[in-house]
Amino acid sequence: MTSHRIRALLTALAVSALVAATGCGGNDTTGAQTGASATAGATGTVNVFAAASLTETFTKLGKDFEAAHPGTRVKFNFAGSSALATQINQGAPADVFASAAPKNMATVTDAGNADGAPTTFVKNQLVIAVPKGNPNGVKDLADLTRPGVKVALCAEQVPCGAAAKKALDTGGVELTPVTLEQDVKAALSKVKLGEVDAALVYRTDAKAAAADVEGIEFPESAGAVNDYPIVALKGARNAAGAKAFVAYVLSDRGKAVLTEAGFQVP
């Protein structure tokens, strides 16, 4: 098993054993809400576990945050939301969790690992990604069922797949994909490589790959909008830094960066 994420999981399992052994519990912080007061005292390293689809925007936000808070350093662990949730619940050293789906966030909050209630900071919507120039003339979901049109979806187990299923159900479209990809980037790369004619991906991903693919909006996606919740974690070693980072993501500056990438801000 060579999967990056499985390796990450194994690492997390090992880490969890260490954490348990050293009796390192979460230090309780009083539930100070996001605000200037929490931001002021931020120093040190902030460990942010964020969904893979946030890679570009959060990297940018991290740099901005470091600039705005001298003395801080933001370290990211980008991976699938579910793998991140597992890692967090197994005791991985995370201060902030930004998930691509409420379900994975619920895994963490249900385990009592969140410090306060999560906040939805962006929404992402599906588009139909087709190769540049749209050679098959795809206009809507129904076009994807035409014979000879190969479609890649995300597997239902991952958020983009769940959203795709919801959208297809909403539209009453019966679609047999050729593959159920492990994440949205994999689905998108199949379009980029020309192996499939279309894939249902997030608008942000299509936008990031604008050099190779076009994103086609379709009405059914409105019923399958994906909420991205973020939360500071109870086990945070840097509680102040965690709060400050969450606040920064929710700030106008954060919203601007996220909107620019194609996210919808609630």
């Binding site: 098993m1 060579t2 999967s3 994420r5 793998a83 991952v158 593959t179 990809e181 490589l193 020309g194």
Partner: protein, 281 residues
């Protein structure tokens, strides 16, 4: 003369052999790392066993997708091993027996799939056999054959990643084999092909078996190249590792169960083969 001979030939006999003397101590410098190594390999397995949801195991086993993925895994790994044998044994022979220019380079190239991250290997396969690939386009237009998203694609991806294990094992066996047997066969009238099939192959049989086992095991666990090149669709391309991976997304317990099934079946098959096949030679 006879007497002189006897003196010359008379090696001291009955020199006691030191091997296998009972009661010899295993040096701690070897024993300690050996035990640590074993624990390092076995403990993760123990982790899986301890964490396994034994109570719900029967229902989970009965999940229809599980058997489909398992069957597909076994089929594809076996077909991939056969493909590796058909192509890899001759290639190993070439590397071990024929002195051709650029042999060192070829030997290095053979090991490329070992160092290539499997996902990259999958992309590389797409670039060759994909719809827009170097050969894929021609295969499609000429024969109507497409490989990505097919079971054949799974076999190819697994074979690509697993073949070096076979080639390295077989080449090692060929180099270790006594070539004078091949010369003896030649003096008895056997050409190179007959010598290969009737003498060389049986001589290196254990090496080939060991290589095939490694190859099969590697193919069975293959994930990255498979999901990249062949995609993931239940029944056609979703092998056990892919199912495990996706189960991890939602359900750790399911992932553990699937992993255990894969482990149990493969260990059972390998242990069964070892008795019948490997140690018999």
């Amino acid at each position: 003369m006879t007497d002189t001979d006897a003196v010359v030939a008379g090696r001291p006999e009955g020199t006691p052999s030191r091997r296998g003397t009972p009661g010899r101590q295993v040096p701690a410098a070897l024993l300690l790392p050996a035990v640590l190594g074993l624990m390092f390999l076995v403990l993760p397995l123990a982790g899986l066993l301890i964490r396994a949801p034994w109570a719900t195991l029967p229902q989970r086993l009965a999940t229809p997708g599980v058997l489909t993925a398992l069957r597909l895994s076994l089929q594809c790994a076996t077909l991939a091993t056969l493909l590796c044998l058909a192509l890899g044994v001759p290639l190993a022979w070439l590397l071990a027996r024929v002195d051709f220019p650029g042999r060192r380079l070829v030997r290095a190239l053979v090991t490329v799939p070992l160092v290539l991250p499997p996902v990259v290997g999958g992309v590389a396969l797409l670039l060759v056999f994909g719809r827009r690939g170097l050969l894929g386009g021609w295969l499609d237009s000429t024969f109507g054959i497409t490989l990505p998203f097919t079971t054949t694609g799974v076999v190819l991806a697994e074979a690509f990643v697993a073949m070096p294990f076979l080639i390295i094992a077989v080449e090692g066996a060929l180099r270790g084999a006594d070539r004078r047997y091949e010369e003896a066969a030649a003096t008895l009238g056997a050409g190179r092909w007959t010598t290969f099939t009737h003498v060389t192959l049986p001589l290196v049989g254990p090496g080939i078996a060991a290589g095939a086992v490694l190859c099969w095991a590697r193919a069975l666990g293959e994930f990255g190249a498979t999901i990249t090149f062949a995609g993931n669709y239940p029944g056609t391309t979703q092998t056990m590792p892919l199912a495990v991976y996706l189960a991890l997304e939602t359900d750790l317990d399911a992932a553990i169960v699937l992993s255990l099934i894969l482990l149990t079946v493969s260990v059972a098959i390998l242990a069964g083969l070892r008795d019948r096949w490997i140690s018999s030679t």
